[in-house]
C-alpha cells in the first residue's frame, strides 16, 4: 500500500513545493518518508509510525510567517447553538446561545436569549470570562448576569434528567425561582486544589407552575412550586476544594454570606463541609465513603435551605422531599471494579461495561422547613429521631461522555428503621463522588 502511494505522491508534493511556496493542496497526498529500521513497534503500527514527508515545509513556514493572516483559522472562534428546555414553571423555553472566544487573548464571551412560553417572559444573559494557565494553575475571572431560572436546592441541581422527567411524564420534583442580577467570580484550579471567591447580587423571586402538560399526559407528581422568598440577595460566596496529600480523600468547604449591610434583603450565613474518599479492597471492590454537613444561620429562606432526598442525597426519598436549616448525610457505596457482565460470562456489547454496587446511607435535616411539615428546633446537630437510614443496590454505567466521571445509575433502596416507605427504583445520572464539589 505504502509503496504504491509513495512514488507518485512524493513526486507530486515535491513538484508542488517547488512551484507553489505554499501549503499542500487537496490533491497532494502527503507521502510518508521511507520507512525507518524495521522494529517490532514499526511492524505493529506500520504506516502510522512512519515519519512525515518534510518536502516543502520550510518554504511553507517562511511564507506563512511572512503573511500570518493567510494561514490557519486564527485564534478567534464564533459559535451559535439553539436549545430547548422544559420545566413546569417555565413551560417550553426556546433559546439561542452565541459564543465568541479568542484563544490568544484567553477571553470568551457568551450571550443567550430565551423565551419562556409558560410565564411568557424573555430571559437571557451573558458571561464574560478571562482565563490564564500558568505552572499548572488555571486562573479564571468571570462576570455573568441576566434574567435566569434557578433551582431552589442550590446544592444538588439536576437540570438534564429533571427536564426529561418533566417533559415525558411530569415527574420532575425540583423547585424553581427567578434570579435577576449578576455575579463576579474569581477562581484558581490546580490538579489537587480549587479555590473560588465571588460577589453576587441577585433579585430572587418566586415562580408558579404554568405548564401542566407532558408527553404521556400524566398528572404532575408535584403540582406546585415552593415559592422562594422575594428579595435581593447581596453577598459573598467562597468555595474551597482539595485532595488531601498522600490520601485518596477529597474535601470541600463552601460558605455563602448574604448581608443586609451590603444592601440586600436577606441576612444569612450558609456553611457546607464535605468529605469523600475511595479505598479499594481485595483488588476488585472499592469502598467509597462520603459525608456532607450543612448549616444555615440567619434568615431561613427557602432558597437557602438544605434539601434531603433524591439520587444524589438519600435515594429512598423523593427528590427535595424534606428540607431544613441543617443537613447531615453520610453514605458508603461499595462498587465492583471491572465489567460485571464479563465477570458473569454474559455476552454483551463492548460499549456496555456495567458495574454492580451496594450502599448504606443515613441522613437528616432539621430546623425551619419551607414545607412547614417537619420543622424542628434549630441547632447544630439533628435529633436522634430525625435520622433516616437506607440500604440498597446499584447498577452503574459510565459512558465517559459528557463527563468523564459521570455514571448512569439504577438504584433500589430499602428503608432501614423508622421513616417513610422507600420509593424503590430510581434512575439517575451523577458523579460517583456526588456529595463533594467536583473540581
Amino acid at each position: 500500500m505504502s509503496a504504491r502511494l509513495v512514488v507518485p505522491t512524493r513526486l507530486a508534493v515535491v513538484i508542488a513545493a517547488i512551484v507553489v511556496a505554499g501549503g499542500a493542496r487537496a490533491d497532494e497526498t502527503p507521502a510518508p518518508a521511507p520507512a525507518p529500521a524495521d522494529t517490532a513497534l514499526h511492524r505493529y503500527f506500520g504506516l502510522t509510525a512512519q515519519p512525515a514527508d518534510t518536502a516543502g515545509l520550510d518554504s511553507t513556514l517562511a511564507a506563512r510567517l511572512e503573511r500570518p493572516w493567510r494561514s490557519g483559522r486564527g485564534p478567534r472562534r464564533v459559535g451559535l447553538a439553539p436549545s430547548y428546555t422544559f420545566d413546569r414553571a417555565n413551560g417550553s423555553t426556546v433559546s439561542g446561545r452565541a459564543i465568541v472566544s479568542d484563544r490568544d487573548a484567553h477571553v470568551m464571551l457568551t450571550g443567550d436569549g430565551a423565551y419562556a412560553t409558560g410565564p411568557r417572559e424573555w430571559l437571557g444573559g451573558g458571561e464574560l470570562s478571562w482565563w490564564r494557565r500558568r505552572s499548572g494553575t488555571i486562573t479564571r475571572l468571570e462576570l455573568s448576569g441576566g434574567w435566569r431560572t434557578g433551582t431552589i436546592d442550590r446544592d444538588f441541581p439536576d437540570p438534564q434528567l429533571a427536564m426529561v422527567r418533566a417533559f415525558v411524564n411530569g415527574s420532575d420534583r425540583q423547585h424553581y425561582l427567578r434570579r435577576e442580577g449578576f455575579r463576579v467570580r474569581a477562581s484558581a484550579r490546580r490538579s489537587d486544589l480549587f479555590a473560588a471567591f465571588a460577589y453576587e447580587d441577585w433579585f430572587e423571586s418566586p415562580l408558579t407552575v404554568t405548564s401542566y402538560w407532558n408527553l404521556l399526559k400524566r398528572p404532575l407528581v408535584v403540582p406546585y412550586n415552593i415559592p422562594a422568598a422575594s428579595g435581593r440577595m447581596r453577598g459573598f460566596s467562597t468555595e474551597l476544594g482539595a485532595r488531601l496529600p498522600r490520601l485518596p480523600v477529597r474535601a470541600g468547604l463552601d460558605f455563602d454570606l448574604a448581608s443586609r449591610p451590603l444592601g440586600g434583603d436577606f441576612d444569612y450565613g450558609r456553611l457546607r463541609l464535605s468529605l469523600a474518599g475511595e479505598f479499594p479492597i481485595l483488588g476488585f471492590l472499592s469502598l467509597l465513603p462520603q459525608m456532607r454537613y450543612g448549616l444555615l444561620e440567619g434568615d431561613a429562606v427557602p432558597q437557602a435551605a438544605f434539601y434531603l432526598g433524591g439520587p444524589r442525597s438519600l435515594r429512598s426519598l423523593y427528590t427535595n422531599s424534606r428540607a431544613g436549616t441543617g443537613l447531615a448525610i453520610a453514605r458508603l457505596d461499595v462498587v465492583q471494579g471491572g465489567d460485571l457482565l464479563a465477570l458473569l460470562h454474559l455476552p454483551h456489547p463492548a460499549m456496555l461495561p456495567l458495574q454492580a454496587g451496594a450502599f448504606v446511607a443515613s441522613g437528616a435535616v432539621w430546623g425551619a422547613d419551607p414545607f412547614h411539615v417537619h420543622s424542628t428546633l434549630r441547632g447544630e446537630w439533628p435529633a436522634r429521631d430525625a435520622w433516616l437510614s437506607e440500604a440498597g443496590v446499584s447498577l452503574l454505567y459510565r459512558p465517559g461522555i459528557p463527563d468523564d466521571d459521570g455514571y448512569f445509575r439504577i438504584d433500589h433502596a430499602w428503608r432501614l428503621g423508622p421513616g417513610p416507605p422507600s420509593i424503590g427504583w430510581t434512575v439517575s445520572y451523577s458523579r460517583m463522588f456526588d456529595l463533594v464539589p467536583g473540581f
Binding site: 487537496a26 494557565r133 461522555i401
Partner: protein, 291 residues
Amino acid sequence: MPFVVLLSCAVMLAAPAPSPAPAAGARVSTGPTLAVEDTLHTEVPEVLVRAPRVTLDEILDRVARGEARRDSALHDVAFTATLRVVTPATEKKPAELWEETVARVYKQKPDQVRSVTLRHWEKKPPKKQAKDGEQDDADMEFSPSTEERIVNFAFRPEARRDFRYRIVGREVLGDHLIYRIAFEPRSLVGDDPGGVVWVDTRDFVIVRQELDFSRSPVPLLLKGIDRVVIERQEVDGHWVLRRMLVRLSLTISIPKFGRGVDLAFAMNDYAINRGIDPAIFAPAAAPVGKR
C-alpha cells in the same frame, strides 16, 4: 597430596562428556584439531555491598525531581509536530492514511504559544473545500506548558496517592542504567491508565512509556485503547517528546473507515533555548486589502 588427587578426580568428573559422533553428512576435518579448554575455573571473593539499596520511594522522588528539573531547564522550544490519523491494516485492506496535519510550534515560558500549520490533508475533505481545490487549515492547539504531562502524569508528586508502583526491571543500555517501573491506578471507578515507564537513571527522566488502559475511558465510543507508546528523545541535552503512537478500537464500525483507528503524534526538528523572535507571538493582523 590427597588434596591434589581429589582435585584431579574432581576435574576429571567435571570434564565434559565425549563429543557425540558427527552427524551423517557433516564434514569431518582431516587436519590438526584445536582443543577447546573448558575446564578452567576461577573464583572471585564475595564483595559485601554496604551501600543501601535505593528504595522505590526514593526512585519515585528522584523521578519527580528529574522531571521538574527537565522542565525548568526549558525556556523556549520550537518543534515540528505531525498529527496523523490512519486506519490500521486488516486482513481485507491495507493501512490507509485519512488525515495528516503538520505544524511548526513555538513555545516560550511562561505562557506563550503559537502554532503555524504547514500542511493539512484529508482523504475526504468537506465537499466545499474539495470543490474549491483547497483544504482549510486545521489548527492544532497546544498548551504553552513544556511539562509534558502526557509522559509524567503518574509520576508527579501529587499523583503518588493515585497509583501503585513496582520495579519490573533494571537494564544497562550502553552506559545508561534504565529502570522499568510499572504503575497502575488504585481507583476502580476512575479511568486512569496503568503502564510501564523506562527511567534513565542518569537524569532520572522518563524516556519511554507504554500505557495500558484496562478500562475504556469512553466506553460508549471506544471499545478500548489497545496500545499507547510514548517516546522521548534527547536533543541538545534535553529530553523532549518524540512521538506518541495510539491504536484505538471503536465500539461501532464506521462505513468505509472501520473499527480501528491509529493516531500518531510526532515531534521533530527541535530548537531548544535558542530564543524565539517576539514577532512570532504577535497577533496576526492582516494589512488592509491583503486578506
